[in-house]
Point group: C3
Chain length 434, copies 3
Amino acid sequence: MNEGTMMYDLARRIFPIYRSITGEGVRETFRILKEWLGDACTFNTYEVPTGTQVFDWTVPREWKIRDAYIDDEEGNRVLSFRDNCLHVVGYSCPADKVVPLEELLEMIYTQPDQPDVIPYVTSYYKDRIGFCMTENQKKALRPGNYHIVIDSELFDGSLTYADAVLTGETEEEILFSTYSCHPSMGNDNCSGLVLSAQLIRAVAAMPKRRYTYRFVFGPETIGIIAYLSQQDRYLSLREKCRAGFTFSCVGDDREYSIVHSQSGKALSDRALENALKSRDPAKVKHYSFLTRGSDERQYNSPGIDLAVAGFCRSKYWVFPEYHTSADDLSVISPEGFQGSFDVMMETVELLEHNAVYRTTTPCEPQLGKRGLYPTVSQKGMYDSVAAMMDLLAYANGERDLITISEEIGVPARELIPIARKLEEAKLIERMCAQ
Amino acid sequence: MNEGTMMYDLARRIFPIYRSITGEGVRETFRILKEWLGDACTFNTYEVPTGTQVFDWTVPREWKIRDAYIDDEEGNRVLSFRDNCLHVVGYSCPADKVVPLEELLEMIYTQPDQPDVIPYVTSYYKDRIGFCMTENQKKALRPGNYHIVIDSELFDGSLTYADAVLTGETEEEILFSTYSCHPSMGNDNCSGLVLSAQLIRAVAAMPKRRYTYRFVFGPETIGIIAYLSQQDRYLSLREKCRAGFTFSCVGDDREYSIVHSQSGKALSDRALENALKSRDPAKVKHYSFLTRGSDERQYNSPGIDLAVAGFCRSKYWVFPEYHTSADDLSVISPEGFQGSFDVMMETVELLEHNAVYRTTTPCEPQLGKRGLYPTVSQKGMYDSVAAMMDLLAYANGERDLITISEEIGVPARELIPIARKLEEAKLIERMCAQ
Amino acid sequence: MNEGTMMYDLARRIFPIYRSITGEGVRETFRILKEWLGDACTFNTYEVPTGTQVFDWTVPREWKIRDAYIDDEEGNRVLSFRDNCLHVVGYSCPADKVVPLEELLEMIYTQPDQPDVIPYVTSYYKDRIGFCMTENQKKALRPGNYHIVIDSELFDGSLTYADAVLTGETEEEILFSTYSCHPSMGNDNCSGLVLSAQLIRAVAAMPKRRYTYRFVFGPETIGIIAYLSQQDRYLSLREKCRAGFTFSCVGDDREYSIVHSQSGKALSDRALENALKSRDPAKVKHYSFLTRGSDERQYNSPGIDLAVAGFCRSKYWVFPEYHTSADDLSVISPEGFQGSFDVMMETVELLEHNAVYRTTTPCEPQLGKRGLYPTVSQKGMYDSVAAMMDLLAYANGERDLITISEEIGVPARELIPIARKLEEAKLIERMCAQ
């Protein structure tokens, strides 16, 4: 079974769980991930009590929902949480009352430009009673009284986040981060949880690792802020983290999207861009930091200063099913997951092998005597060794492999085996990790 | 009465005065400006005696002209200074003689490509007798003798320049400079004198000023060289001046032109460009320093090194009426003046509010609890706060507001109130003036 | 007789000589060049014994060839070295045996995409018996036995290279390098030898030289590596060399090609680019360092670090006759040589006159009193002095003349006389050589 299929199966398993920024849904999701990962890593979960200050934020009350529905005067069930969990605004206050249509309408959210979908709406930080339905459902509501019930609870509890760290030869870190707060939607964000989990397995299975790999899971915004704030993790990350990526909407099979870090030129950007160079350029989209929307917002913020890039297939906000009931298991696929996994593994490969090289001899070395150069010289023969000659010419002790790749126009993936060959022949030497 | 109308009225008043690089016309103009400005500022005038060395130049003799004409053999007045003062080449030597047509023709200047206008011609530094007329007038001259009279005088006198300084909270200066040497032409340069005067009034009326504002008036080239040279003003300007602008042809209502400083990236360029971003891009022209022509030539010269940018509506050289009798009061208008005034006041506003900001908290702050962020989250809602989020994300203690404006693509004018709001909420803090 | 004609005559003289990376052909060529140069310079030749280590390389055995042919069973001469010396693979081992067609075919090299030319093929570092013929000749071979004879010899001898150094006022050097290893081909490389020789004459005849000029001649790759390695020449070159050029295929009259140094922004690039600006842009080709192929490979390599640019007319690899028997005396011409010579002399001129200038007076100087500026001011007159005014405005003690040329868009060649005039008028002064 290939990785894509395994990932899709895992997505199917966690899809039905109702997640929010706090609560049992998140905990249940983490339990499944931990079990699925098995021995691959130590999967740590953390609870942050309601009221805890995390940087400028305060951890909110925990939220639990058991049921919700709207009945009309005849007792017909207009809407039920059991049909689709998106029908209730996330973090809705409890309610059990009869209201006339006019009052009900003020509590209803729809997506008028997509009249057949239920939008995903939340109100974490302001008490509110709210329902979501399709625009067509709303239009069909007739005057009269409605019995609305939200069997929810807001109470002092805790917010849950998790991480897994795979130590490498050095303390320098590569960071992967995804969020755990979205209820039943497929691409956003079952897919990110699943890609992170599969990457943990793959990285754990690598025979050796130069870098330490850190995988972070938490509710978007507040969870990552809590993660960075607590134990002053941001200080050690700022010191050790060399590159990082946030995952969002990585399960569909449409395009590949990179959301650049603030400078757009960090190692994160350069490594991921380079890996994407081997993909069909028509399917690769490059988004500026100005279009950021997930936790790259926190990682790149002044004071944190981690140049983390975002990775998506169809970018959040852009694909039509985004944040609606249409973002279900049909949007994602084994093929989509496999594509995301392959890109991220190639990125890991590039980072592992990236190094600043220096040639060991002035002038070009005599490659022929080492079997690395054609022994007959006729026009056109240089082409076959051009990448090797270029690598030798640009390995001046200042450029790393990715920079050389960019300057000579050859994907870094193709340069890695050449660099290894030249290193074994002692024609180049590694200066230091970058 | 709006500023444009007041400015046009002032232009009408100074238009008829005959100005040159020295003489009573300049002094009379300065007297009117001083009177018009009233209590707004101390308007200082300075006299530099003939023969004074100013850098590489020597202040020439003062020039006075009372009358000039050409009569033909029949006593018909072919041309009279009283009809149009441009008929005499500026700084013409006195003359009173009868000459045949051939000799007269050598003294005549026309604009052959514009046969109906009198060109504006000067000969400040070489003794010369010269008349200007339309090409058609010249073609109509018939053989015969002509009585030519120029009742002018060149004598040891002085060159006059002026300035006004409005002190601010700091000694850092913003410079505005315009020239006072052109006879009756509307756009070039009544308009510059008028814009400077109106700006003095407006800046003087500002409730507080971070910068000190310096307004310089003098004959083009020699006057500004004298200004910079005397009292070693260029040394203190080089130290204190943060941005500067020369005004030329700022009274018409065609386009907005910026003549960039040598680097094109100085604060002057960036502030004025930013202010122009709110104007119709089709009406904004960007000129390289290679097309400079007014006193930005002196300010930017090596040894002075003030990165001053030029501001025009239709740029000198470019509009058809330039340096001809067609550049009269019909070329300029209240609307044209108002546009120039608004752009320069917006530039002043940007400079006053420009600062390097730093966010005070790692990660994004919780804007919702401060009423600065939507409390409901649904797709599309981020747009309304994107500029605020971007400002927070880019305020890293290194970028000034104008740089942030350029990087996030939002005019600085729109960022100023946002920055004020964030500063009041103590979410960003000012590092230092730039 | 112009230089082009003299150069073509010299090319005709050295064309027939059979050159390889070692041997009498190279020595004979150098003897002719030395004689042709006469008193213009001291032309030094050097012998490097077989087996000498030069950086990563070992000087190979010397090769001598006396004759070679193939006879068929009927005694018909299928191919003879005396008809065309390209018929034998360079550095072929001796042979005298009868082989069947199948075996012969394995020794034969052709250029299938150009069926009427004999390709130029070498095998310097691997023992091999090889013949070259046209594809059509090969196709005409009938089954049977063939008597193949190569009367060659490989023996411990030496590799020959040469140089000539014309000392200047300073020890700073300009380098010209060309290769001496190609047998009878016109553009590649008789032409490079000839251009270098003519330049030696011209530079030697210059009344004064700021720079010292070094001309290097040696077999491509191994010869230049030997040159740089021996006497640690690369260390002093790295210290003293300011710009350098390799010559290859400089005798045809098609286009002008520059092969950029690695950065593409070195003085070599900038000077040659500037000289080429005066040529028809449609005939100037700019090649990136990634397309390098001659000894700029060695000069630019890490550890040598000389930012040498390549100069060609039609670039090697690109023109159809390249490395075939079609590259004969008909490809090159007096006109082609003259064009190359003119470009390189203009480049020398630019380098000699390039300097960092600083204006001596703040503000613009009064050019009128020095007769350098129109005394009448009317619109349009500024154009005639724009280049002079721009030079004054940009001469800030940091830009060299070539940089000013690039920034103001005027070829440096036109700025040289202006700079001289301003220097004589003491309006600019030279800071230091660059």
